[in-house]
Symmetry: C2
Subunit: 342 residues, 2 copies
């Protein structure tokens, strides 16, 4: 392959800066890397493979000769920037919710639906960071034993809302420890030492946009619109690492041992499930790992053919940046980008 | 009625000290209050209605003439102390799991099953602090429309493990903020800025003892062994306030509006459910309140006749001390304690 030209938009954000780090650490041959961010960051610099890169505005120029544009900004901004990248011939990898449910946009977790990467789409969407662990855990089980219904309750870290939210949690926590009163810095209510059942805005049916995403993105990625899914998405005072309690109902009987076998042999999953040694996934354990951690695997005693699972993921890594890099590697392997000119 | 003699065992603990405060603030006529705790606290003092009370050992003497012994200590200790109190003629209100599932021990949340207080039992058990909000929310719905299945995932504060756990969370949090490495102080894993899917020891079927409690206590209190229940119990870095995500399946259709009506008119429940104003229960909101807060009431889109709810409770108050005081008031109203001698 020929070395790639990659443009990163949102390069100073929580996901963008991690993506740059992972890209730098990867063995991917690169011809050039452009870094873009919002007006306030233009002119600042970031380090990449020992070089200093200057932050630019995400205009047409930024995408000239780009093979891939990785965009990690708000959905509304993404909608404006993606067309500029496409116009310059780049494949857009978008981390926002802007395009995920478009019928002509593949929504990809490579271990689950790499076959959806077929070279005919100009935009490829990265799923929401709570969707990724769910489809990773459900897919190997669903292939063997069709899933009928899923209930998922999330425990989401503040880094899902970006760097400012992480700083806000630190400030709020310090204020509580020092017995100072402060207004909520990040969310409508204080998150320091609190739990908030509210991630993204609410819809008319009482679900939040985040809950709606997890439901519809899961069906799309798994190509299984017939699965019934319900979710409650909750913010917890954790820096990095999303956890999920998952209750699954299958068509046919399945034992926890069989589920453990299927999950252990699935690329990208690490089973952490030894109750005698008090080993199970936690948010802190997931932080810094590229795997989806699965544990507390047991029969659901409230229903026929049911299992209960507990998941943890580094929401910035496999929940976003790692998944994006894996998609780029997948596109390269399929010879869909970086083709030698003939 | 004649004024009561009450002995409080565990008077220096998180629940015991709050119970004393609530008892002091109540209008209950009291003849005497004895306070007991473990050997290490004997001789210390606590304040009660303007008087200084000396901590004693919980031996037979401590219960002489007691009408009620409120015991909030570890289950193993409770099993030793309760018989001493009974031998002295006291009615035991026990906050531990020691006696809850005994067939001859009523397990009581007064709003739900006050009828189980009939004067023939020497021990009355206070339910687990995650069971209380669940039965409070389910009971008014179940009376109108029988519940078939419940799935509950909890978000439990550290005060459920007592005062030491609260101090430990503060220390761990400060250490993380100062970038100091420390061993876990409270649980097998760090709880500061973390989420741990582990409350109490694990059973052979993969459920934890806490999950087992919520399942079996709920059926007992509601006199409904036919309800199918599954639970995952999770510790979160919160001081006071347990939250629960609850998915309920009913026999017959039920709308969120009807559920809201039934819950709003149920004593002890406060519906906090205005998504436009971003009002829903949080752990911090519940802390200091004697009500069970219910919100995020919506149709469960994954099943027929399903609802999703979000609960929050002050686990030390209605989850323990408030509930105990309500039981004492109930016993007085029923003339089961404090009877005038004839």
């Amino acid at each position: 392959m020929r070395p790639l030209n990659i443009t990163v938009v949102g390069a100073t954000g929580a996901v963008g800066s991690l993506f740059l780090k992972l890209l730098g650490d990867s063995t991917l041959p690169l011809a050039s890397v452009n870094v873009c961010a919002s007006q306030s960051s233009v002119g600042k610099t970031v380090q990449f493979r020992g070089k200093t890169l200057k932050i630019q505005l995400a205009d047409e120029l930024a995408f000239r000769d780009s093979d891939v544009a990785f965009i990690s900004v708000d959905a509304s901004v993404s909608k404006e920037i993606a067309p500029l990248a496409i116009a310059q011939g780049a494949v857009v990898l978008d981390d926002s919710s802007a395009f995920r449910m478009n019928s002509d946009v593949p929504l990809v977790v490579p271990e689950v639906n790499a076959e959806d990467l077929n070279g005919i789409h100009k935009i490829i969407a990265i799923p929401n960071c709570v969707t990724v662990p769910l489809v990773m855990a459900l897919h190997p089980l669903h292939k063997e034993n069709p899933i009928k219904r899923v209930i998922v309750d999330t425990y989401q870290s503040v880094s899902g809302s970006g760097k400012k939210a992480m700083d806000g949690l630190i400030s709020e926590t310090a204020a509580v420890l020092e017995d100072r009163l402060i207004d909520p810095l990040v969310y409508p209510h204080r998150i320091g030492f609190n739990v908030i059942p509210h991630v993204e805005n609410f819809l008319d049916n009482g679900y939040s946009h985040e809950e709606n995403k997890i439901i519809h993105e899961t069906k799309k990625i798994m190509h299984s619109p017939e699965i019934y899914i319900s979710a409650t998405c909750v913010r917890v005072p954790v820096m990095i690492g999303h956890c999920e309690s998952v209750h699954v109902q299958f068509n046919d009987p399945i034992t926890p041992d069989r589920a453990r076998e299927l999950l252990e042999s699935f690329q990208g999953i690490r089973v952490v499930d030894d109750l005698e040694l008090l080993q199970y996934p936690t948010a802190v354990m997931a932080s810094g790992s590229d795997d989806v951690l699965v544990g507390r695997i047991r029969q659901d005693i409230s229903v026929e053919n049911g299992l209960v699972l507990w998941l943890a993921i580094d929401n910035l890594r496999k929940g976003a940046a790692t998944n994006a890099l894996q998609i780029i590697n997948c596109l390269v392997e399929k010879n869909l980008i970086g083709k030698e000119s003939t």
